[in-house]
Symmetry: C2
Subunit: 119 residues, 2 copies
């Protein structure tokens, strides 16, 4: 029988100590949201991503990719060519995460005029 600690191993993002807080932090930020969206339609190279994510620096893009790779959300593949070609691709897990993120991007693009800042 299943032990009573892990049960179905579902997390609670409202619990400070739950590991899913960290996962939420990895996904719920601007650059991760944009990277995952850019990879939805298929593998992309570093340079392609840098162009699509207008304004991102190579340092930040690299950091973001590493964090997502470390969570099994995407894979990094090096092809033995000259010069080397490197492709990033969403894993099955990454594709799952991409759905709510796509909905969020779509909502933002549609409703931006209704959420104008009034400081």
């Amino acid at each position: 029988m299943l032990d009573n600690i892990s049960k179905d191993a579902r997390g609670n993002v409202y619990a400070a100590m739950c590991p899913c807080r960290d996962l939420l932090d990895v996904l719920a930020n601007k650059w991760s949201t944009l990277v995952i969206g850019a990879l939805e339609s298929g593998p992309q190279r570093f340079g392609q991503l840098k162009v699509r994510l207008q304004g991102v620096s190579p340092k930040v893009l690299s950091q973001t990719l590493k964090r997502l790779e470390g969570r099994n959300l995407l894979t990094r593949t090096v092809y033995a060519e000259v010069p080397a070609r490197v492709e990033y691709e969403l894993t099955a897990l990454g594709h799952g995460a991409s759905r709510p993120l796509k909905d969020l991007r779509d909502w933002v693009e549609t409703n931006v005029t209704r959420a104008e800042p009034r400081p």
Copy 2:
């Protein structure tokens, strides 16, 4: 007739200069995601939110609420009681934004064990 600049006024989150980049930044972060989720079921007071969002400091909670209020995503209402009662409530716009965010929270809670960090 409509002017040809605003058209349907849909934004593009991949464009660096698009105002929706800022809106994405407001929504796509850990604390906003949790605040909006906590308000989904109805109005909440500051203290209640502070308890639900385990580990958040009053400063950060206050900042997050102000940013969301400034985007018309929630309202702040002060009731003339002693001591004063203050309630935060999602606007219609905020409820719209809360859907993809809820899906994201749910996905995170369900898949946290499959996205364990491998540094």
